[in-house]
């Protein structure tokens, strides 16, 4: 029990923040990326309702890379988009219609973004999704 406590004690503080899509709907791509990275840099795991456009996702990756160079102790992000809410599970819709899933917006989707220093891996397969944290 003691050793378990010690291990858990190594996790540094973080918050899970939910952002409804309405908060980014009126923003342009620059502002969206800035908002997301601002939240993540504050040691928060972001759960965003909906998803970004494919171009915005690559932009997020590109800007993250630029940030690694400029922000001390920032190592990047873990990113996952859970798309689809059909009967066939998380990826059912994604499998049936990939094109729909990449169209952006998609309020049935959830985008998870976390700082890599906190989120070790977002492990997923068609049946489940796991958020593994760094200890």
């Amino acid at each position: 029990m003691v050793s378990k406590k010690n291990k858990l004690g190594k996790i540094k503080g973080f918050t899970i923040q939910f952002l409804p899509y309405s908060e980014i709907r009126g923003l342009n791509s620059d502002e969206r990326i800035r908002k997301i990275l601002g939240i993540v840099l504050g040691n928060n795991i972001l759960l965003l309702q909906g998803r970004l456009l494919p171009e915005e996702e690559t932009r997020l990756i590109g800007d993250t890379m630029a940030m690694i160079e400029h922000v001390k102790n920032f190592r990047g992000i873990e990113l996952a988009v859970i798309a689809g809410n059909g009967n066939s599970g998380f990826f059912g819709k994604f499998r049936r219609n990939f094109a729909n899933a990449i169209s952006g917006g998609d309020l049935g989707a959830v985008t998870i973004v976390g700082p890599a220093t906190i989120v070790k891996e977002i492990k997923r397969n068609p049946k489940k999704i796991e958020l593994l944290l760094n200890r």
């Binding site: 494919p54 990756i61 590109g62 890379m65 499998r95 990449i102 997923r124 397969n125 068609p126």
Partner: protein, 213 residues
């Protein structure tokens, strides 16, 4: 007036001839350590006698976009000319400490990490320049990775044809079916770039997709 007509006629004729011999910009994208450079090296070695870049077990060995122009690939009596573009692996995180596991000095690891971040940015910038893209995935890894989905999503949005390659099929842990089921709308070709396994099917798919351009 007559000179102008003759001039236009020759212009049309020559343009028509060279249009068919246009160099196709063939990009190789994917996560780090999937075997992009190994595959490009094999193709370039087979058809030009020269490799394009170095390969390593350490991730992010390719940190700059490297290309080889006018690579003429011959397959079943047909020839096509490509500009082979090998890109650095795309990742969402890069930690210099990960490189220390490979017994690299701290200063060298930090330099590698810095170059790797710049490489990712460069890879993304080159997306717009491609005519056709081969997404190279490691068949021993879980394909449900957001980087893979983001790359393919971007190519679809840009209307760039995609071929998915499941590399490292020589390894016991490899699972092509998992990749096929993750991307059911795309052609998936299983290969081993290291041993040159199943490249015939790869060339066949490349030629088929190139004809549609």
């Amino acid at each position: 007036m007559a000179i102008k007509i003759v001039k236009n006629f020759f212009k049309r004729v020559f343009l028509g001839i060279f249009k068919g011999k246009k160099e196709i910009k063939l990009g190789f994208y994917g996560p780090p350590n999937a075997g992009k450079t190994s595959l490009v090296n094999r193709i370039c070695k087979d058809f030009t006698g020269e490799e394009i870049g170095s390969v390593s077990k350490i991730p992010h060995e390719t940190r700059k976009v490297q290309f080889k122009e006018k690579v003429e690939i011959e397959f079943k009596g047909k020839k096509m000319t490509f500009k082979m573009i090998d890109t650095p692996g795309i990742a969402t995180k890069i930690d210099y400490e990960d490189f220390l596991k490979f017994k690299i000095k701290k200063s060298e690891a930090k330099k590698r990490a810095k170059e790797a971040t710049q490489g990712v940015v460069e890879s993304i910038k080159w997306l717009d320049d491609m005519n056709l893209v081969v997404v190279v995935l490691d068949a021993t890894e879980n394909p449900y990775n957001q980087v893979n989905i983001t790359i393919i999503g971007n190519l679809v949005a840009r209307k760039i044809p995609v071929l998915i390659v499941a590399n490292k099929i020589d390894m016991k842990k490899s699972d092509i079916k998992k990749i096929e089921s993750a991307f059911p709308e795309y052609d998936v070709v299983g290969i081993s770039a290291k041993y040159g396994k199943n490249l015939e099917e790869f060339y066949e798919s490349i030629f088929r997709l190139s004809k549609k351009l």
